[in-house]
């Protein structure tokens, strides 16, 4: 089983049970999760993301058989392109994570278009995080709505050859994006915040197809068990399809 959407680190608003690498790894062991794609959670709020990315590199280096890094880039902040070069050349980045809502830039803005052009040229996977938690639960001083599904669809349409994983989207958001994208070969979604309606996983497979849906936990913000149980207990898809969601699609996408 490969978790396609997780983080390591602390969150400003509450203590998280599996924020630190050792606890996260124990939880992964308990649930038979072989590997997880992780980003530095602090980089949602840090200004200098290179600090968090270097910390992530050290964490992943210590557990290279378990963690796959996704380095966070903020194209709305000065020097992002130099930081990206460091991530690519020194840290060996193959996967990038974007938080357009928390970092306050437009997906179709000039700087992000430049970033996506580099991603396309270098064949980097771009993970766009739609949201992290239900906006109704946010701290009243930090209310951050999800990234607009329409903006993501336009972005994917503008770069049909780039590879995208849409992370942290709810059912309506990810199906809306899928329907609005013209060329979908390089578009993937994960199921961490798809927590309804009933038979959501089967409905995702029917709409998007079982080759483009991945298991993702959104840990440590969410209980791992939600995304895992949702696939495991789904009665309307086959065991072979479950295997694709749990492992095969991620193995292909992340070159495991």
């Amino acid at each position: 089983m490969i978790d396609s959407n997780a983080y390591v680190g602390e969150w400003p608003f509450r203590r998280l049970p599996y924020s630190q690498p050792d606890r996260l790894l124990r939880k992964m062991d308990d649930l038979s999760i072989e590997k997880a794609v992780v980003s530095r959670l602090e980089n949602v709020f840090f200004k200098d993301l290179l600090v968090g990315n270097r910390e992530l590199h050290a964490i992943v280096h210590a557990h290279a058989d378990r963690f796959i890094p996704a380095y966070t880039i903020n194209p709305g902040y000065p020097g992002w392109d130099e930081d990206l070069e460091i991530c690519l050349d020194e840290l060996g980045a193959r996967n990038l994570r974007l938080h357009p809502n928390y970092h306050g830039y437009e997906l179709l803005g000039q700087e992000n278009l430049r970033l996506l052009e580099i991603a396309r040229e270098r064949d980097l996977l771009v993970i766009i995080a739609i949201g992290l938690e239900d906006v109704r639960h946010h701290h009243r001083l930090v209310v951050v709505p999800d990234v607009g599904a329409g903006d993501i669809a336009q972005t994917v349409n503008a770069f049909p050859q780039a590879r995208f994983l849409v992370a942290g989207g709810r059912f309506g958001e990810v199906t809306s994006i899928w329907r609005s994208v013209d060329k979908r070969e390089n578009l993937y979604v994960e199921n961490s915040r798809v927590q309804g309606p009933i038979h959501d996983v089967a409905k995702l497979c029917n709409t998007i197809g079982p080759d483009h849906v991945l298991f993702g936990s959104n840990a440590p913000l969410h209980y791992h068990e939600s995304a895992k149980l949702s696939i495991e207990t789904e009665t309307q898809i086959t065991d072979a399809e479950k295997q694709r969601l749990f492992r095969e699609n991620a193995a292909r996408l992340f070159n495991v």
Binding site: R14, H137, R140, Q195, G196, H224, E225, S230
Partner: protein, 266 residues
């Protein structure tokens, strides 16, 4: 065995769709505490429903109770804004049709004095009153009750068992608000499965006052079950939340058809 205290029957606009929920109930061995807040044939939820609309909702719930007596247990939905009709509707459904609770949504804020008679009827029949409540960082619905209003209601009616739906929406806010309200149970259904959700509730109000709900069909069963299975609580605490606490409440109602269904297993 699990009791899900928060189930809406309207999968789409066909009552037959309830079969999907029944299949889930059988898969996970669940009793469904069910209440309609929208007649199946209606285009939208009416947030201030007419007495006729209310009756249509409760008729549909009753039909499901009759079809699935071993699995479905109905709560009576009313609009306290229609005070006389609401009391008559609640009394009739409890007395004649074995409904086992009261469901209140957003027609009026729950500090409205017209709720008092409904609370007294609930206490008389020893049935719980489930009140939708949500504290939001974003905009509240008109008539939506934040947890502080539910706490005030509970303090005014100490003989009535009140269920705070969604654990207050913002469950951390709910946990603090309801800490000293001994007659309030917190239903965990309907929100995202944030890590630590149930542990925070248990830390503040204890495992005896936390109960399992899903808010199906809008939420999936698995995502809500994960809130309990994902914790490091003891097996006994998990059993209380998933079954035992609510089984005790239902077994004590004067209206349940066969109290031994819950008494024997709680």
């Amino acid at each position: 065995m699990i009791i899900d205290v928060h189930v809406h029957p309207h999968v789409s606009r066909r009552l037959d769709d309830f079969a999907e929920l029944m299949a889930i109930a059988q898969q996970f061995d669940v009793h469904l505490v069910t209440y309609s807040v929208r007649p199946v044939t209606a285009a939208n939820n009416h947030e201030y429903p007419s007495p006729e609309n209310i009756r249509a909702c409760n008729d549909q719930t009753f039909m499901l109770m009759q079809r699935h007596p071993d699995r479905v247990h109905g709560f009576t939905y009313v609009n306290p804004g229609h005070a006389r009709e609401a009391c008559e509707e609640l009394d009739f459904r409890l007395r004649e049709q074995h409904f086992v609770g009261l469901k209140l949504w957003v027609a009026v804020p729950c500090v409205d004095p017209r709720l008092d008679a409904l609370m007294e009827i609930s206490a008389h029949y020893r049935v719980p009153a489930l009140q939708h409540t949500w504290f939001k960082a974003t905009r509240q619905k008109t008539g939506e009750s934040p947890p502080a209003m539910v706490a005030a209601l509970a303090k005014r009616h100490p003989r009535t068992t009140i269920i705070a739906a969604h654990a207050g929406g913002d469950y951390e806010y709910g946990a603090k608000t309801f800490r000293s309200c001994e007659n309030v149970l917190l239903d965990i259904g309907g929100n995202e499965c944030n890590a630590g959700y149930v542990e925070i509730l248990v830390n503040h109000v204890g495992a005896d006052r936390v109960i399992f709900g899903t808010d199906m069909p809008g939420r999936s069963f698995s995502s809500q079950l994960a809130k309990v299975l994902g914790t490091d609580l003891s097996a006994e605490e998990k059993h209380k939340i998933l079954y035992g606490n609510m089984a005790s409440v239902l077994a004590q109602t004067k209206t349940i058809g066969d109290p031994s269904v819950f008494a024997a297993q709680s």
